[in-house]
Symmetry: C2
Subunit: 140 residues, 2 copies
DNA sequence: ATCTTAATGTAGCCCCGGCTACATAAGGGT
DNA sequence: ACCCTTATGTAGCCGGGGCTACATTAAGAT
């Protein structure tokens, strides 16, 4: 970077902040998707177990995510995804798979690939994801 | 992952949360390091400009970072890094450079490499960083 | 030295993501 | 039907990172 100029910028930090607030929604949406696939329903208790937080934190998170139109309460079956929730879950899962594979092919162990993917996946641009995809097709 | 098991875990989420809280410290420490290099001092005002937040947010962040022993107030010259602050800045800068380079070699544009590196760099394990380093030496 | 402006600091509010403790609703067992 | 347990929901607190508005301190200009 040019001398006298930091690489950091206001815009950048805004972006990172927004990403952080999306992470939680994405994680919940993915978890709900998996739960419904595996057990037919996604309840507070399940999510509490998955994320290792109190049921209160789960409830509040679900409320906000519901307000964002990603999930809906179901009669006595917990939560289900709305159309946009499903879209998010799908994209999110695809991206996760891509990043994990990428790391593995790069030579990272399976377990560490999982762990790192979960940290980084929310911070990658389309462009970088495409580059990873291309790398994968060239190296698999 | 095995059916019936989510890839998410309490431990994982703890880790991500801790990483988030470290991001700010790392960003400040790096910014202070750069400022001192470039202008001989790092003041609240400078940091405010760099991060695009109010001076109040800067002051509070600096307080916490000072409590963590990473920085120290200097007479009328703003802040300077302690030994461990310097260590963090160095590591952090090295890691940033590595990640940016890695992305560039992967085919990502310079500006997007910068942007994405800033999002991801706080979430990479040693193992993944080493893998990136190896990729770089094999592909430059 | 004084006056003005710029920089720093304080008070107090917001939202979000944690939490515990208590209150209700649902389900199961007998 | 009743009781007990498990699940869900509410109240209210903490800390972190955001903010504005106001107070103070430092620096420059005259």
């Amino acid at each position: 970077m040019a001398a006298g100029t930091s690489r950091k910028s206001a815009a950048r930090h805004d972006r990172v902040r927004r990403q952080h607030s999306d992470e939680l929604a994405e994680d919940y949406v993915e978890a709900i998707d998996e739960l419904i696939l595996e057990k037919g329903q996604a309840r507070v208790k399940d999510l509490q177990g998955i994320f290792g937080v109190s049921h209160v934190s789960v409830i509040r998170a679900l409320k906000r995510i519901e307000e964002r139109g990603l999930i809906m309460r179901e009669a006595r079956k917990g939560y289900k995804l709305t159309a946009s929730g499903k879209r998010m879950a799908k994209e999110s899962a695809e991206r996760h798979g891509l990043v994990v594979n990428f790391l593995k092919v790069l030579g990272v162990s399976a377990s560490q690939s999982e762990a790192d993917a979960e940290g980084m996946e929310h911070h990658l641009s389309r462009e970088t994801l495409v580059a990873m995809k291309e790398f994968l097709s060239a190296n698999e």
